[in-house]
């Protein structure tokens, strides 16, 4: 920490020096300005800037040539500027030819700009360097604020879903605030992180998901990019390939998400001072399965208070009293009444409360209670955001405030977030620019726990809110049965009380994360001479994350004596970045731009944990109220120091050569292996400028690009040295004495551990066709990783069970396509199509030594797992299968069921074959209507939800539940064709739900209507007499419809959910609960 103390002193000295000089400077500059004012006759010129078809161009820049005097056009293309007579006005707008006009006597000047064929779009690339998009030799995708603001989701990850080709984003659950998994260009690391780097306003932003539990113990942790407010973001650039991210070193190996916030953006607003206020209101509802309504709980049409829903028909005209056996009481109308479930509870102490005991003698109506639907609620989301920005010619100042309150559709789930941000920058006349941003975020997230539901209870040590709810038998009156006894215990419909009542879970079991976070940067830059610039940026990102996970005593799942866990996390990231940039036209044809620099990043993570069990007073969640406590802590510290250089040469502004390199040193590996150099480079060739004759009405612009880049992964900390195990409470002897112990840690340190290496080759083509109406960006890439850092099992005879090694090669090849098409564009009507396509194929080429496969996900109750297998795509799913004979016929056992294999085999590839998104926007005058479709082709998944819900009979997939079935196959014993009948209920339960794993693997092909929005801009004429500059009303619906076409339709399963949370597991779904559908309204006004 000392070093930071020192460096901050230097920053202070620097600031002080600037401050002292500023006074002199201010005097000087004001004197100069006074002189300028008196010398020339000023006048105000007003006008409107339109495009060729008469559509106003907001944000076009109007500058007096040769001066700093300039303004931007407002929302309707209007501008007003004070200039001296005889001067030249320069009007420019991205994508249009610059227009120049000498100011004569007239006070008004309306301009119509011609579209420029050479699209001079400027994009932000690595380390915040702005480049013309034509000069870039790799693919960069920009998502602007319009596509990020006013969305139904407050999680920036989920907002980006489907907007960028090659960026695969999945939700962990439908719970508001739960983690979001982002993977760019496929999984390339087997056990290392595949999540991209977040850079906010030029400095690193921690985006980890600090999962304090294995996912099967309660998968709920938020991903820390949740602390960003999408409404305060100006734009996002996604750097996908390694030739784009080389300068970020090892951290950029999984792609970089470059976020520019409104407080960190120099972008000039339409007016000098502008306030934007927006208010949203959304409702979220769960996408539930289509439950059947005819049958209730039981098995084989016989009534019972079972987990399964294979009981008699609800209609007493169809069912017989005999089907209810001893439970039968009476029939009134068409409804059968049975003994009350409370009367069947074995543990007498549970039903001793008078009000509960009174129920025992009552009759219980056997009917459809639709409990699942009634259990969930309508979630409500409120979002308020205010942004104030003042821009001048030399700088800007921005203040933003955001508040999101998101009550999920799951009872007990709530997410609240407050964001405050301030930022500004000023360029002095002596060439010094100074600025900074300061952001504060407070995120408060609460939810009931979600452990892995196995269709018959939960696996893991916690409870699950969804585990039993989703297949609640239709005849169970969840919302009216008692759920808690007076002494706090859970009570439900089962005689053995072996299901934790979901309503008890809501009231008594809670996971929470409370985060206070401060992040931002200070930056200084100095223009030494005209083309030489030096800059320094200091970034900081510090947060505390207070995690709690507790359940009152009296539950069924987890620790029944009550448990409480608190984990306090402090994460700190400090980043220094110094760079020197130089640009020079060497001669008429050749230009040069160079950057050299150094960067140092320090990451300190620390957590303290206390686990308590055995609650004393019911309901009090404090450690003092528990008998047993155990504490633990974890600390990790990593420094990475890098030097980098980046040189770009251009020839005639159509051929660009970029060379770059970075050397990284990381503190977590032994000295011999901790340094790595990675080179990269790219070439961009604008063919339409090199050979103007190929330009035509058909082809307006074509650029070829080739890029190559390298990166590395240094892995997590402390894996190179062996440690000594210590168990402070190893044994409790008869006298109650605690005996501690030392042992050899089972993990063998590997002092030879090297960084894992990634390299990528990318080619691409950017085109504008049909008079710029159609834009296409195609990229092909080939990414290879080697020396993967992997945990390997050791034979126990060695004295250890595992060690971390460098092993294995994985490659991913893929194609990405982004396109936009403007088929119709008139003054009143516009039709705009944007879309993308992505396909990739991964391959595990090699693993350690003679190892040909291993699994890297935990085994949960014998369910399928992801494997790395040589010659297969990374992550293939293996599970038990139906045993087959040599000719491929299924073997059937004596009872008529499939014989389950004892060995696991490959049953699916979870990587989708290809994904595509298509969005259409129609605008007519002040209205616009947009909708986005998403399609995922293939990608297998194991779905415990589908298997359980169909198998337990709460859904009707179209089978005859009173019929009998004969499985296709031959008898295991004699090879004769199977003729043994099984019931539909057995088929559901023993085959579909809990039979061989391959039956529960589904193809994940899904079509989705991911968003529909309707926009209305209130016409200017209505607002003229008000203070409001513009007013926009938008109705949005997200995730309105989807259909996984190859899964049973009634399950209504959302394939965009990954119950394994944020990590490398794919396509393994436990009972994760429903996804959210959101609809609502947003009003946005500028003043």
């Amino acid at each position: 920490m000392l070093i930071f103390h020192k460096s901050s002193i230097f920053v202070e000295i620097l600031l002080l020096t600037i401050f002292i000089h500023m006074k002199k400077l201010l005097l000087l500059s004001s004197a100069m300005m006074l002189f300028a004012f008196t010398a020339m006759a000023q006048k105000t010129v007003t006008g409107v800037v339109l495009d060729a078809s008469g559509v106003p161009l907001p944000g076009a820049s109007v500058v007096e040539q040769g001066t700093n005097n300039g303004v931007s056009t407002d929302f309707d293309g209007n501008y007003s500027i004070e200039v001296s007579e005889g001067s030249v006005l320069e009007i420019s707008f991205i994508g249009y030819q610059t227009f120049e006009s000498t100011i004569g006597e007239s006070d008004s000047l309306n301009i119509s700009l011609e579209e420029d064929n050479q699209l001079e779009e400027v994009v932000i690339t690595a380390l915040g360097v702005k480049r013309e998009s034509r000069s870039i030799g790799y693919s960069v995708k920009t998502v602007t604020g319009d596509n990020l603001e006013q969305k139904t989701e407050g999680d920036i990850g989920r907002v980006l879903q489907g907007q960028v080709a090659g960026v695969n984003i999945t939700n962990s659950t439908g719970i508001s605030g739960s983690g979001t998994n982002i993977v760019i260009r496929g999984y390339t690391s087997i056990t290392g992180s595949n999540q991209p780097l977040f850079i906010v306003d030029g400095v690193p932003f921690d985006s980890s998901t600090n999962s304090q539990e294995a996912f099967f113990d309660g998968n709920t942790a938020s991903s820390r990019f949740l602390d960003l407010d999408p409404n305060s973001i100006e734009s996002i650039n996604v750097l996908k390939g390694l030739s784009a991210t080389t300068l970020y070193g090892q951290q950029g190996r999984n792609g970089v998400i470059l976020v520019t916030t409104k407080s960190g953006s120099r972008k000039i607003s339409a007016k000098g001072f502008e306030t934007t206020v927006s208010q949203s209101y959304f409702q979220s509802t769960p996408n539930l399965p289509d439950y059947q309504t005819e049958y209730g709980g039981g098995f084989h049409q016989e009534f019972g208070f079972y987990y399964s829903n294979g009981g008699p028909n609800f209609d007493a005209r169809i069912s017989q009293p005999s089907q209810f056996g001893a439970f039968y009481r009476e029939t009134l109308g068409n409804t059968v009444y049975v003994q009350h479930p409370i009367s069947k509870i074995n543990d007498a102490s549970l039903v001793s409360d008078p009000d509960i005991a009174a129920l025992a003698s009552q009759n219980y109506a056997y009917k459809n209670y639709d409990s699942v639907k009634n259990f969930f609620r309508t979630g409500i989301v409120h979002t308020t955001s205010v942004n104030m920005k003042k821009t001048t010619e030399s700088g800007f100042m921005n203040l933003s405030f955001g508040r999101t309150s998101d009550e999920g559709f799951t009872p007990g789930n709530k997410l609240g977030r407050t964001n405050i941000s301030i930022g500004g920058s000023e360029k002095l006349e002596n060439g010094i620019t100074f600025g900074g941003t300061m952001n504060f975020a407070q995120t408060n997230y609460k939810t009931p726990p979600v452990s892995a539901g196995t269709g018959s209870g939960v696996s893991g040590s916690g409870a699950s809110i969804f585990g039993h709810v989703m297949f609640t038998p239709k005849s169970v009156d969840l919302m009216n049965l008692p759920y808690q006894t007076s002494d706090g215990r859970s009570i439900y419909y089962r005689s053995g009380n072996d299901i934790q009542n979901p309503r008890w879970t809501v009231d008594n079991s809670k996971v929470s994360q409370f985060v206070n976070r401060v992040y931002g940067n200070v930056n200084l830059s100095y223009e030494i001479i005209d083309d030489l610039n030096v800059s320094y940026v200091y970034g900081f990102d510090v947060y505390t994350e207070q995690n709690t996970n507790g359940q009152n005593k009296g539950g069924v799942d987890g620790d029944v004596t009550g448990s409480y866990q608190t984990i306090d996390v402090v994460n700190q990231v400090y980043d220094h970045n110094v760079k020197l940039s130089y640009s020079k036209a060497i001669n008429d044809k050749i230009g040069f731009q160079g950057i050299i620099g150094a960067t140092g990043r320090r990451n300190v993570y620390s957590q303290n944990q206390v686990n308590s069990t055995q609650q004393l007073a019911f309901g009090v969640m404090k450690h003092f109220n528990f008998v047993n406590q155990a504490g633990s802590s974890f600390d990790s510290e990593q420094n990475i120091y890098g030097v980098f250089a980046d040189f770009t040469f251009d020839y005639n502004n159509y051929l660009f050569l970029n060379l770059q390199g970075r050397n990284d040193q990381a503190s977590n590996l032994e000295k011999e292996n901790n340094s790595l150099f990675y080179p990269g480079g790219s070439i961009a060739f604008v063919a339409t400028d090199a050979f103007p004759q190929i330009k035509s009405d058909l082809l307006s612009y074509a650029k070829f690009r080739i890029g190559y880049g390298n990166s590395a992964g240094f892995g997590s900390t402390y894996r190179t040295r062996s440690t000594l195990g210590l168990s402070s409470r190893a044994f409790l002897d008869r006298g109650g004495n605690v005996i501690p112990s030392n042992f050899v840690s089972n993990t063998l340190g590997n002092s030879e551990l090297k960084p894992e290496k990634v390299s990528e080759f990318e080619i691409g083509l950017d085109m504008r066709l049909l008079n710029n109406k159609l834009g296409l960006n195609i990229s092909l890439f080939d990414r290879n990783t080697q020396n993967l850092i992997t945990s390997r099992t050791l034979p126990a005879a060695s004295g250890y069970t595992n060690m971390t090694i460098n092993a294995g090669k994985v490659s991913v090849q893929g194609v990405e396509l982004d396109f936009n098409y403007r088929p119709i564009k008139t003054a009143d009507f516009k039709w705009q199509i944007d879309g993308n396509f992505y396909a990739d194929e991964s391959l595990v080429e090699e693993l350690q030594g003679s190892t040909t496969e291993f699994t890297y996900t935990s085994i949960i109750g014998g369910r399928p797992q992801n494997f790395a297998i040589v010659g297969q795509p990374l992550g293939v799913i293996k599970s038990t299968t139906i045993e087959r004979n040599a000719s491929g016929e299924a073997l059937i056992d004596a009872d008529g069921f499939y014989v389950e294999s004892t060995e696991q085999s490959i049953v699916g590839d979870p990587n989708p074959d290809w994904v595509s998104n298509l969005s259409n926007t129609f605008s007519y005058k002040d209205f616009s209507l947009g909708f986005t479709l998403q399609y995922r082709h293939g990608g297998d998944l194991f779905s415990q939800t589908a298997a359980t819900l169909v198998g337990r009979g709460v859904l009707n997939p179209g089978t005859n539940r009173e019929g009998v079935y004969v499985l296709d196959g031959v008898n295991e014993s004699d090879g004769a064709v199977n003729t043994t009948q099984i019931t539909a209920i057995n088929y559901g339960f023993d085959v579909f739900s809990f039979g061989p794993g391959e039956i529960q693997i589904f193809d994940g092909t899904t079509i989705r209507l991911s968003e529909v929005n309707l926009n209305y801009n209130v016409p200017k004429s209505f607002l003229e007499k008000t203070a409001i500059g513009s007013l926009n009303i938008r109705l949005t619906g997200s995730n309105l419809f989807y259909r996984a076409v190859n899964m049973p339709e009634v399950v209504n399963f959302d394939t965009n959910m990954m119950s394994t949370g944020v990590g490398n597991a794919q396509g393994i779904g436990f009972i994760t609960g429903p996804s959210a559908r959101r609809v609502g309204i947003t009003v946005k006004a500028t003043f």
Binding site: I18, V534, N674, T717, R721, N742, F743, V744
Partner: protein
Amino acid sequence: MKKIFNLKKTSFKIVSSCLLMLTLIACETFELELVDTPNSLTSASADPDLFLSSIQISTGDFFESVTEEGMEVTRILHMFGPLYRNAYNSTQLNTPWSTAYATIFARSNVTSSICNRIHDSVRSFCSCINCS
């Protein structure tokens, strides 16, 4: 104009020297060897008594983990299967095996350093298990 130039020159000097120093400090003080974990003890802190406790406790665990199967196959305890053919899979004895070799007999530089420091009374026990 001359004054501006001077000012520019001075501030250039100040800024660039500050930046240079900053960079140098960053170079010098960025600790690049953070490889010993603060989350565990190192072999230097190994205590022979505590080590023997762990060997004793693990031996108990080992005994328990093999006797249960032993009782099952001899039908003293219920054997889930219930046939011999399907009662156990190939990984059944992995845990006791691992307990025996990776915990009780675990041989490493840690244990040898302990053997060198261990007191006489248990030296023979230790040598038969851990030290060659």
